[in-house]
């Protein structure tokens, strides 16, 4: 499953903000962390701000702060701001020998699974999964370090 670059940036950003809800973070900080252009990221953050997921912070340094409930906002809430996923349905008639329609049904199966997955993962759950992944990586590093040299 591939998501557009803007969508991925939006997800990374929202999760960075949601991980520390009170904290004010600048576009430059996140851009640096993920190795992307501040210009592109600023646009993404502006869109997230307009959608009410982030609130812009006035004054010196600027930046944004998380705005919302991490237990209620889902991955879909972010993704649908940047991709035409929620409303996607099998289009067109059955076409020649029913081929178009039948293939559209197959693709719709996959779409429905993707949508259900995104709708059922809250930011809270996503952060929990991220923590687990980080912990497992740490364990893997420990195992590599303690492995006897041949």
């Amino acid at each position: 499953m591939r998501l557009q670059k803007s969508t991925l940036l939006a997800l990374y950003s929202v999760l960075e903000f949601a991980a520390d809800p009170g904290r004010q973070i600048t576009s430059a900080e996140i851009a640096g962390k993920y190795g992307v252009s501040t210009h592109h990221l600023s646009k993404v953050l502006r869109d997230l701000g307009r959608a009410g997921l982030l609130e812009s912070v006035r004054g010196v340094g600027g930046g944004y702060r998380f705005s919302g409930n991490t237990k209620r906002i889902t991955l879909m809430d972010v993704i649908e701001l940047f991709e035409d996923i929620s409303g996607r349905t099998a289009k067109g008639g059955t076409g020649h020998n029913g081929i178009k329609g039948a293939l559209a049904s197959v693709l719709a199966e996959i779409d429905e699974t993707a949508k259900a997955t995104f709708r059922s993962i809250t930011l809270d759950t996503m952060l929990m999964l991220a923590q687990r992944a980080a912990a497992e990586r740490g364990t893997a590093h420990d195992e590599l370090r303690s492995a006897p040299s041949s």
Partner: protein
């Protein structure tokens, strides 16, 4: 139980739940579990669990179904404790994996199980309508 399920699903399945209780609650076996969460003398939620051996090409696995909490008693961690309790007993029964089946459009229940660390299993349910035989 029947009342909670009726409140949640809108369907009163009296016979079904009596049968579930008979199979999972009445007999004392480690492989079948029927747990309830009680607060102030009333049942606020319940969960049914079972060990299923070698289904769908999988080694013995714990299955959880019917986890339900009275709508008025939610957001208090009861669902989490019910799942933990049934998982403890499933581990005690010898399995190290738990699965559950949820309707694709049941976002609420899907979100709950995912919040408990469950992710999609490498399995798919397939279905078809059985057409009436022409005889």
């Amino acid at each position: 139980m029947i009342a909670i399920d009726a409140e949640v699903t809108g369907l009163e399945k009296t016979d079904y739940w009596y049968e579930v209780y008979r199979r999972y609650g009445a007999s004392r076996t480690r492989q079948r579990l029927f747990l309830v969460a009680e607060a102030e003398g009333t049942v606020q939620g319940f969960v049914v669990g079972e060990v299923r051996d070698w289904e769908f090409g999988s080694p013995p696995c714990g299955w959880v179904f019917g986890l339900s909490v009275r709508p008025g008693a939610r957001q208090a961690g009861i669902g989490t404790r019910l799942l933990q309790a049934v998982c403890d007993r499933l581990r005690h029964a010898g399995v190290n994996q738990v699965r559950t089946l949820v309707a694709r459009d049941n976002t609420l229940v899907l979100s709950f199980f995912r919040s408990q660390g469950m992710t999609a299993a490498p399995a798919i349910i397939l279905e078809k309508v059985l057409e009436k035989a022409l005889d």
